[in-house]
Amino acid sequence: MIDIDGRSPDREVTPATPQELSQVMRDASDSGTTMIPVGGGTKLLLGNSARSAQLAIRTRNLKGIVEYEPANMTASALAGTTLHQLQDIPKNSNQFLPLDPPHASQATLGGIVACNSSGPIRFRYGTVRDMLIGVRIVHADGTPTKAGGKLVKNVTGYDMCKLYTGSLGTLGILSEFTFKVQPRSDTLATAILSCASVVQALEATQLFLKSDLLPDAIEAWNREALLPLSEFTGPAGAPWFLMIRFGEVEAAVRWQLERLKQIAPQGAGDIVNILSAEESEQLWEKVASAREAPVSREEALVKCSVLYRSAPETAGQMQEIGASLGAHTRLYCHAGTYVLYARYLWENGDGRNAKELHAALGALRRHCQAAGGHMVVEKIRPDVKNGLDVWGYDAPALEIMRRIKREFDPKGLLNPGRFVGGI
């Protein structure tokens, strides 16, 4: 049974082909039934509560690799394929889809694209928008369309792939994708550095960014966040850690580790451990899922995205808010891109009431917006969602977004109310 913010859709269907999906949606549209697309179910809590959720449309049976062409460096797959299933196919050819969102074994490509999920390696490879080159989608009234193709370079018509990426199933249900894939690095290595504060961690990062180093990812996490992964950090205890991943040919990975040793600021970013390729694989798989690893406690997950100058202060605020709410605060910062996640965890009985949470999160949002950034509440208790806009987006461009929604879904049947501005 699907549970979205404490509520289950009245019915669910699991179409097995894009044609069935189209038929299901046409019928739903004709009868004015609201539709909730569901992929692997790992992001059900993302977005505002739906105004109505009559029919869950599950894409998990729309799965399989449609075509994989190593000599074109593209892979096409149906939307219900999990990221793991896609990564398994190109394994022998040394190519991969460079996305590392949480839960690669459960998350479907459809969900990843619709939610614009990403992870640490976005620092080097970008996000979905940088690799999605073709889509098939079924619109609210059941009409299937396509855009893009299997070409890495394509300016034939509007770039609809960009519009659908991150649209949270509000413009249609995506049924098939073509991605540009990338070569796997010959080898990986990871350096772990200890820092006294987030300021120190981000300053060290800035130093590395100005150097010749070309890392795959730079993560700055607080101790609380790294506790579940302490086998990788070595015996050193520190308030903050930097994890820097390098992927390249052997000689270039070795060179970068040497260079890092030369420039790492002593006492403000000491290297405490260096991980082999195999250990790196294990670490980064865990790193990708850590912020959404299942827990039995009450939790909230908040994402702030800002610019360099305001990143340390934002991280500080995220931590303070956790303290004021009596929560354990795990901070996961993409240090090179300034996308920061805070996961608040409460011991049983410590959870705060909605009013308190609204006030604290409101203050954090105002801080981010004043700095030109954003704050999105990715996960929170259903009762707290009432009276809270998890997206907090009210820029003038919202009017254009609403009109796009009206053009594509005039009856407002797809994921109603879950996206920005009540879309």
Binding site: N72, R129, T143, G149, V155, V249, H374, I400, V420
Partner: protein
């Protein structure tokens, strides 16, 4: 065009910035796609966002179309005032407002010349990666509108991968901020859909662009092949081998000869059927291993000469020859038609061979210089417009080539855009339902279809036909 409208425009833009005399307007009758021409009724040289808003309001009041224009280097008629009206030229808006190395961003006005941005940022160790061959003259605004490519987008992506946020004036005259400088702006990716909309969604008045770190090291190889097909197969093998050079370009024999006969001669082997320019960049420690893999692949495909540029001078000479190849081709003939099509890289050699067969059969001389690594073909058809029926024949042959590309899973344009050149071909690729989805977005941004009308969509989907 009525005198009253001209007066209103003069009041907004200032007398000197309104070009209304026939000989002034004639210069704006086409962009670099000279097959289609239409003289605009009036041309405005604007330099402020507020002026643009007011001009658009005036145009709407009079129901007159308006067309944005940058440097006019577009190759698909994007800046063609197809139905007359006002051409709004933004090349005076050329200030680089801010360079922000900490966030690897630059804030620029639309008239900034592509190469000027890299010149301004390279002392700090950064550059703007998209590098269309026209980069010495083409403007950022035009690059955004067309989602421009270039040799190095093989590794670094197209213009759209390097645009962070935009300030635009919509076709309703309303200024609007799209996206944000901070990452992951919530909502639909309006920046993504605006880039590449070929001037039909309004005018960008400011862009925040991503800056890319200058590579620590660069190696440029020239590989000569006796057979064009071998060169194409080598390209497919490089890609299948999991190597991403910074650029992977091909020139055919006719292009080599014309470059070598021009002032930009690059010392290319004139007895080769095809040369590949293969550029690797990144960490110095990585390049040796990659270079030897590439050398091995080229040899396996009967490469008969491999040359490594020994210094920056040799490298520049190679690139100058490549980037001016189109201009050099102009010396071979009276007229030329530059086609832009893309095929999946695994189908490269069969399609290229087919394209030469089509040209041979039609008796049309073909020169080819293209972004092989992206599967982005640029056959150049050489002809003489003065010969009766020749122009029509060339267009038919070019369309036949497009059909071959599409049959192989390719598309109509990789980087030049659809514009007025290929709008009638859109149904070769897209169903009406596919086009309807795109039209829904146009209906939101450009509800009256006054902004750059007659582009992208087949004429029956456009208001002005």
């Amino acid at each position: 065009m009525n005198a009253r409208l001209i007066e209103e425009l003069r009041a907004v833009a200032g007398e000197a910035n309104v070009l209304a005399e026939p000989e002034q307007r004639l210069a704006y009758e086409c962009d670099s796609f000279a097959f289609h021409r239409h003289t605009p009724d009036v041309v405005l040289l604007l330099s402020e966002r507020e002026e643009i808003c007011r001009v658009i309001q005036i145009a709407r009041k009079h129901g007159v179309p308006f067309v944005p224009r940058g440097s006019g280097t577009g190759l698909s008629g994007g800046a063609l005032p197809r139905h007359g009206g006002i051409v709004i030229v933004l090349s005076r808006m050329k200030s680089i407002r801010q360079i922000d190395f900490e966030n690897r961003q630059a804030v620029v006005e639309p008239g900034v010349i592509n190469l000027e941005l890299s010149r301004a940022t390279s002392p700090g160790g950064y550059y703007f990666a998209p590098d269309p061959s026209s980069q010495m003259v083409s403007s950022i605004g035009g690059n955004l509108a067309e989602n421009a490519g270039g040799p190095h987008c093989f590794k670094y992506g197209m213009t759209s991968n390097h645009v962070i946020s935009l300030e635009v004036v919509l076709p309703t005259g309303q200024p609007l901020q799209l996206g944000s400088r901070a990452p992951d702006c919530p909502g639909y990716d309006l920046v993504g859909i605006f880039v590449g909309s070929e001037g039909t969604f309004g005018l960008a008045t400011e862009a925040v662009l991503k800056l890319t770190r200058l590579p620590q090291a660069v190696k440029t190889l020239l590989a000569a092949f006796a057979k064009l097909k071998d060169a194409c197969d080598a390209v497919s093998s490089v890609i299948a081998g999991g190597i991403i050079p910074a650029a992977l370009e091909m020139m055919d024999r006719r292009t080599i000869l014309s470059v070598e006969a021009s002032v930009n001669r690059a010392g290319l082997p004139t007895d080769a059927d095809a040369v590949l320019i293969i550029e690797l960049d990144g960490l110095a420690a990585a390049l040796d291993a990659q270079t030897s893999r590439i050398v091995e692949i080229c040899r396996r495909h009967q490469c008969r000469e491999l040359r490594l540029a020994k210094n920056e001078e040799e490298r520049s000479a190679i690139w100058k020859g490549r980037k001016q190849a189109f201009g050099a081709a102009g010396r071979m003939t009276h007229d030329l038609y530059l086609q832009d099509a893309v095929v999946p890289r695994n189908r490269l050699s069969e399609v290229v061979v087919r394209i030469y067969e089509i040209a041979d059969r039609a008796g049309i001389a073909l020169a080819s210089v293209f972004h092989a690594g992206d599967g982005n073909l640029h056959p150049v058809l050489l002809f003489d417009r003065k010969k009766e029926g020749e122009e029509q024949r060339v267009l038919e042959v070019a369309q036949e080539m497009l059909q071959v590309c599409i049959n192989a899973g390719g598309t109509l344009s990789g980087e030049h855009g659809i514009g007025s050149e290929k709008n009638e071909y859109m149904n070769m690729l897209f169903s009406d339902a596919d086009l309807e989805a795109m039209k829904k977005v146009r209906a939101v941004f450009n509800p009256e279809d006054l902004c750059n009308p007659g582009k992208i969509f087949p004429s029956r989907h456009c208001r002005f036909f």
